[in-house]
Each structure stands twice: as structure tokens, then as C-alpha cells.
């Protein structure tokens, strides 16, 4: 990183526009290796930005010339008759240095190198090739993302990082990832589950910009409210710790650290060629900064949903409303094991619940197992939620419903729709944070209904979980985050 860049970053700390914001907001993009052949990565990168209708000029660069997806291609970056802010490189490794030279000559600001086959191979000639690229870029002030990565996905402006499953809908979740595959998995899985993203970046071998730089940017970025990160290794531990502490103070930071076991660390070295760092160092870092460690991308999505959609719970006392005795036992067990409190309701709440709840096959204690029946009575369901939410013993609600019983006739399906409508309509009325579990056996029919209802819920600002254990885990980590922040201030 140049001195110039350091000075500009210093300025960023006093709330000016962060220097990396230009990198995330290019006005023109060229794809080197763009091709009409769907077997080439360059095809998918170019198609991605075309499909998302990128808000600026796009140029396919292809040695053979011709059209790519209806766009006239150029044989070289040097032939493009206008300035280029951002270049995506998807050609074999040994050709990359000359492309970087082209970038220098034509005044390109940022190069994203998708190409792999550099230091991560552990081979001397490949490491040298990577060093060569780093040197040219550093000397000439060209920013490099990668190599061996997927680059930037910025949905709002239509900057895609591969195209498949991507959407222009944007939201408040940022993701910094050393792994390209994890970036794709996280964005696809997250979109399906109701997350919406501000910006994603995959930075691979990180010869120039790395996790620390992007962490600092996301801490600044006004579009990003929740920072998610997949990290294999960091270069300057001291600087990373400092930036992470500031980021976690500003916003929730969720980190999946890859390579904390011996076998994982060996895989990290084959993957992005870095050192993974020890378990104890990372534990200390999580404890000191309040950044939240997650164990998988699915858990990261669960937590990001809670931070995206739930208001701040006043405490750990959860009121549970659902259907099914076994599920009620399970959710009570999961909540208490996670560290939540499942208190008894006040006598007043119990009396009122008893009035609207049939005696057989139900419980009006916490968890409430009611109202029963193949089709649920909507007014009683609504009243049950209101009674539980207004109990002074309760800080937040977990609500669970089974999809499978409610999809076999149009009337059943309508009943399911009406029940989620009650949740969405009453979200504000209830006055307390709500997490929902829609339980599905995941047959194709059941999953279709799950996705429909989940999408309605997340559009209505309610997070939906697949299992009772996922919901209790997400909720306790949300609460622990706010507890940490309160102690820290």
C-alpha cells in the first residue's frame, strides 16, 4: 500500500469519503477474457454485469475480436476509446502481467484478477509471477483485488461478480471474503433466505487490498449496517486487530475464520497461500473486540437475518408460541441450552390464554402450544400473540409454525398465508422483537410454500429460520452482542 493511500485513509477516519469507495463505484468496466463461450469464466463475468444492467460503460476485451453478447469487443485495453475505472481479468496466469502493464498505461484505477494459479500453488515460478504483478501495481498506484478471487458484487450499481443467481436488489449486509466460492455460496444462500446485500468482495491471495482494508471500508460505508467476513489469514495482525475493534464498535461484525484446525490450515495454504494463525490468537481477538465468531456460512446468514430484521431485545426472556408438543419441548430445551430464559407467564396472561385455548392437546404455559387443529383460528392466534407479547415477563418472541400440515388443500394453504399475515401485520403492534421458524419437511411442495411465506415475512421485516435450534442460536448471539456493547461503553 502506498504512502499516498495511507494519507487518504487517515482522512477517511474523519468521516470523509473512504478512498475505497471509488473502487466499489466504478463508472466503466472492461472484462479481459470476455468471450461468447459459456465454458469460459470471462463469459460469465461479462454476462453478469450485462444482466444486472451495470450503470455505466462496459467493454469486452477479446484477442479474437468480434461481438460478445451484442457488445463490440476490443483486442486490447489500449484500444478502448474511453477511460476505464475497473478491469476484470479472466485469462491464464502467465498473461496477467502484460495486462497489468496495459492497465498502467491506460490509467485504470482497479484491477480485479479472477485468474488463479499463483502463490496458492506453492510453486516457485507461480509465486514469482504473483510478485511481479504486485510490484507493477504498487509502483504505478493501480489497486489490485486478488488474484484468485471473484472481486466485487455491488448490486445497487449492477456490478456483478459472476452473475449466477445475482440480483440488483440491495440491502445492508456487507461481505468480505478471502474465498470466491464462499462469496458465491453466501450470496446465493443469503438471497434465498431473505438477506439483501450492500456490497460483497472476494479478495483471494490479496497481493494489494486485503481483509483489513475492506473491513475498514465496510466500517465506514453508510450502505453497510452489518459486516460479514470470511477470513483465512491476515498479513498485518496488529493493524487488523485495531481496525476490527473500530469496526465492531460501529456495526455488528460476524466472522467465519477458516483454517483454525491443522487440517484446515493446510487447506488454507493450498487455497490462498496464507498462514491461518492460531486458535488462541483468534479467540482473544473475538473476546476483545466483540466481533462475533460463527462456525459456518449458514450460521452467518442466520445471525445476519437477526441483525437485519430484529429490534434490540431488552433482555433474555423469551416467549414462545407454536404448534406441537414435541416441538414445544424442543424449542424450550434449545432456548435454555443457548442461554435464553423461558420464564413462566404472569397469572393474568395464563388466565387470558386459557379463555381462548381449548383444553385438549394444548399448553398455555411458556411455550404456548396452541391453538391446535389442522386449521388454526386466526383471531385466537392473533390474540395469543398479543397476550404473550404484552406479558411483562417477556423481552422477545420466538414463533414456530409447521408448513407441512397446511399445504394440501387451498383452504389449508390460505390458513398458512393468513397466519404469516398476522405476524407481518402485528410486527409493530407487538412492540417486541420477533423471530419466526417455519418448519418444513423440505419436500418440493413444502419447500415451495416455505419460500413463498418466508419471502413475505422477510419483506415484512421478520426473520425466518429453518429450525428451532437455528432461531435460538441467532437470537442469543444478537442479545450477547448488545450486552457486550453495553458493557464496553
Amino acid at each position: 500500500m502506498s504512502l499516498n493511500l495511507l494519507i487518504r485513509w487517515r482522512k477517511a477516519l474523519i468521516k470523509e469519503r473512504h478512498v475505497l469507495d471509488e473502487i466499489f463505484n466504478p463508472r466503466s468496466i472492461a472484462v479481459v477474457g470476455a468471450s461468447p463461450d459459456p465454458n469460459k469464466a470471462g463469459y460469465h463475468f461479462f454476462k453478469g454485469i450485462v444482466d444486472l444492467k451495470f450503470d455505466g460503460a462496459v467493454y469486452p476485451i477479446n484477442l479474437n475480436g468480434g461481438d460478445v453478447l451484442g457488445f463490440k469487443s476490443y483486442r486490447s485495453l489500449r484500444d478502448v476509446p474511453a477511460p476505464i475505472d475497473y478491469v476484470i481479468v479472466a485469462i491464464p496466469a502467465y498473461k496477467v502481467p502484460e495486462i497489468i502493464e496495459d492497465c498502467v498505461v491506460t490509467g485504470v484505477k482497479t484491477v480485479h484478477i479472477f485468474t488463479s494459479g499463483f502463490s496458492e500453488t506453492g510453486k516457485a515460478d507461480r509465486m514469482e509471477l504473483e510478485a511481479q504483478i504486485a510490484e507493477i501495481a504498487k509502483a504505478k498506484n493501480v489497486h489490485v483485488i486478488g488474484p484468485n478471487c471473484m472481486g466485487i458484487y455491488h448490486p445497487k450499481i449492477g456490478l456483478s461478480n459472476f452473475g449466477i443467481f445475482q440480483s440488483k436488489e440491495s440491502g445492508s449486509v456487507g461481505f468480505v471474503s478471502q474465498s470466491g466460492g464462499n462469496t458465491g455460496d453466501f450470496s446465493r444462500m443469503g438471497l434465498v433466505r431473505g438477506l439483501r446485500f450492500s456490497k460483497l468482495v472476494s479478495y483471494g491471495n490479496a497481493v494489494d487490498l486485503d481483509s483489513t482494508d475492506f473491513m475498514e471500508y465496510f466500517a465506514w460505508d453508510p450502505e453497510t449496517k452489518i459486516i460479514c467476513a470470511y477470513i483465512e489469514g491476515v498479513k498485518d495482525g496488529r493493524r487488523f486487530a485495531k481496525i476490527l475493534k473500530e469496526a465492531a464498535k460501529a456495526k455488528p461484525v460476524l466472522i467465519l475464520k477458516g483454517g483454525l484446525t491443522k487440517a484446515g490450515a493446510r487447506a488454507v495454504s493450498s487455497h490462498t497461500g496464507v498462514l491461518a494463525g492460531s486458535d488462541s490468537i483468534w479467540n482473544a481477538l473475538f473476546n476483545q473486540t466483540g466481533a462475533i465468531q460463527v462456525e459456518s456460512l449458514s450460521e452467518m446468514i442466520d445471525l445476519a437475518l437477526a441483525f437485519s430484521y430484529m429490534s434490540v431485545p431488552k433482555g433474555r426472556k423469551v416467549g414462545i408460541v407454536g404448534i406441537g408438543g414435541g416441538a414445544s419441548v424442543a424449542v424450550a430445551d434449545f432456548c435454555e441450552k443457548a442461554g435464553l430464559i423461558v420464564p413462566s407467564f404472569t397469572e393474568d396472561t395464563i388466565k387470558r390464554l386459557e379463555k381462548i385455548t381449548p383444553v385438549a392437546g394444548t399448553s398455555v404455559k411458556n411455550p404456548v402450544d396452541s391453538p391446535v387443529g389442522h386449521r388454526v383460528a386466526v383471531p385466537e392466534y392473533e390474540e395469543t400473540l398479543e397476550l404473550v407479547a404484552s406479558d411483562p415477563q417477556i423481552d422477545l418472541l420466538i414463533i414456530h409454525l409447521t408448513i407441512d400440515w397446511r399445504i394440501h388443500t387451498p383452504e389449508d394453504r390460505k390458513n398458512l398465508h393468513d397466519l404469516t399475515e398476522v405476524l407481518i401485520k402485528n410486527k409493530k403492534n407487538l412492540g417486541k422483537p420477533v423471530a419466526t421458524v417455519l418448519r418444513s419437511c423440505q419436500s418440493l411442495n413444502s419447500w415451495q410454500a416455505f419460500l413463498e411465506e418466508q419471502n413475505r415475512c422477510s419483506e415484512g421485516g421478520i426473520p425466518v429460520y429453518l429450525t428451532l435450534e437455528d432461531a435460538s442460536n441467532a437470537v442469543i448471539k444478537l442479545i450477547q452482542y448488545y450486552e457486550f456493547r453495553q458493557k464496553a461503553t
Copy 2:
């Protein structure tokens, strides 16, 4: 339980037909409360056995007479002109005792009482009603399953316990459950995931037959190779421990114990009216018997899949083959955290892998991250699996594939099909146990492809997991089971 029954059970221990086998194999069934109204539970119970084409006589019993689903109904059990082995009762609680009297008079062998609203309500009059039923049944040697439960699902003979999502396909997994909802969830989720069942039984408040009785039966039952159980409480702890020890010696036993937390225990008492028992007692029981504790129904399904389809691994050393650097790091971390060993391959294996693996974006160490590309070269994939499986360092394989990249064109879809075909075709050749992870973002398209490929794999005898962590967890518990059994003998 009567003295007579005890004597017959004693005989069962010397390998005669177990006395409960008659209960699981009735030749005729009557449903009291069978109705043409789909809002009544009796409709669904009757429809279930009709839809599964029960191998015997079926009689709807309905006070109003008339036809039910084309079957002539009777106003009372006493009017049925033939012997009835099994009666399902789905009418309000206060009417149940007179039905039990009818059963006594007409010589019915087993009554399954679906009806709830008995001791689990905690109300004195309801507890008395339950005691009354228990007394009549005990005095007259009528077996009772329940009340407050779903009864028996025996797919092979078409005895359904509610009908929704049920199938006549049978397999080797038995399930004993105190909860009706959990029985439904487990059977639906399990069927979707590729499990096939011998028999399921939900026994609720257990006034007569309870978990211990059914555990003993499943230990004997030649159709059941794997015993799964959801238990809230047991009555005679000493007898249960003894039977469990014998059962776990004969077959893998997987137990989800509900109510091990305070809140869970309170929910248990509202659900089936029993005492949950302490955490330390249950821990000791698991340690002594080798029965395997699971934390959720999903985990139970994961483990039952491993026991259903995987041969016995010789040790803990796992070879991993997949696509994606981030996923390779994650699976290595998950395996090592779980207690598996991810050894380096021999130099010979590495050299051979290098010959067929491109250098960029891959790794030929363990985990293998190869062959890359949007479409995978099938012969190289097959050779990779063979090389890893034949490495003397390796005891078993975990193989992971991403669905999402392989469903957007017919060629991609065919490639995915060809890759799973390689797994199925080579299952025996590889000579070592295999677990597979098919990773999906769970969009509707992706999920459809997942289900299609998963079904092919499970028909081919390969267990499929949704996540890398689920696969490593299932595999280590499979290995630990065999380690325990080896030590115990």
C-alpha cells in the same frame, strides 16, 4: 402390564416371536370417529389406511352412520360383524371409556387412543378419566397405545398413523416416540432425505405400553436394523436401562431426550404429563449403554442415514474430494473439530493426482479441490475418487459437490447427473465407506435438482448430507459407535 404379558415377554427373550409383534401386525382395523369431514382427525386416520391400501379389513365407526370414503360405517364397534384386532380412537376424551368397554366386549386386542385432554392437562378430572381407561384395559387384557398420540405406522402392511406424506415403501429404521408431532416430522423429513422405515410408533401418555416396551420390541424386530427414539420420560428407570443396554448391544440406538433443561421439563409435563429425569442420569445412561444421544430430529436423520447406508469404517482417517477452496477449508475444519483425522496422502497418490489435475485453482493435498471448472471432466473425476480411495492412509471418503453451478443449462445438469452416477457406479469398487454432501442454495430450482440427485444416491446406497458439518458429525458418530462396541466386547 399383566403377569400373562410378562411371561410371554420372557419367552421373547429366547428368540420367539415378540408378543408386541401381533400389535404391529393387525389383520383388521376399526377407526372410531372416522368421518367424511376433512376437519376431523378421524377422517385422516381412516383415509391414511385406505390410501396405503391396508392389507386387511377396515371399518369406519361413526355414530351418524353413512359412508366414509366409500366404506359402509357402523354406529358402534359392537355392530361390526367380524373380529377387530386394532382400534383407532379419535373422539372427545369423555367418550373414550365407553369405547374401551366396547373393545373389551368385542375382543379387540389393541386400542390406539389418539384423543388428547387427559393427564397432560394437569387437571384432576382429566387425570381421573385417564386412570379409568387404564384400569378397564388392564383388567381385561386390552393393550393401549396412548392416549394423546399418533399410534403405529407400519408401511409394509399399510397401517398409517395419519396419512399425510406417508408411503408404503419400507426400510430398516424404527422410531419410538412419545410425541405425535415428532413422529410426523421425523417420518416426513426422513422420507424426503432418503430414509425408509420398518415401523414407527407414537405412544403419548403411555398408560399401558411405553418406551421400554417398544424399545424391547424393536431390539427383537427382525425388520428393524436401526432404532431411533424420542423420549420425554420413562416410568421404570431400572427396567428401561436394562432393556436399552440389550437393545444398544443388538443395534445402533439413537435417542433424542426431550426436557433435559428446566424449561424443557416444564414443557414435557404439559405435553405428556411425565417427569423428564435429570441430565446427569441420562448422560450416565448414554455412556454405559452406548446408545447415541442426538440433539435434534435432523441430527437423528443424519445419523440414521449413515447407519443405513455406510459400511463400517476401519478407522477415523478421512479422504475428502470436492470442489471449491473455501468449502475445502471448511470441511477440513469440521472434520478435525469433530474428531476425524484428515491425513496427508502418500507421495504416490499425490503424484498420480497431479497428473490429472490442472495446477490453477486446485489442490491435490487432502482435501482434494479438483477437478475444477464449470463442467467437471467425468473420467478424471472417477480416477480422482479411485486414487483417494485406494490410498492406504484413508479409511473413508467424504465427497462434496455444489448443485447451484450445475443446473442452468441441460449440459450442466447432465454433468451433475454424470458425477453422481460415478459415485453410485463406484460405490462397491471404492471399497471404503462414502458419505456425500450435495450443497445447494435451496432456491426452488436448486432444491429440485438436489432432491432428484439425492434420491438417486440414496437408492444407490449412498447417504447424502445438506452441509459439510452435518456429514462430518454423522460420520464421527458412526465411527464412535463401532469403537464403543469393539471396546465393549
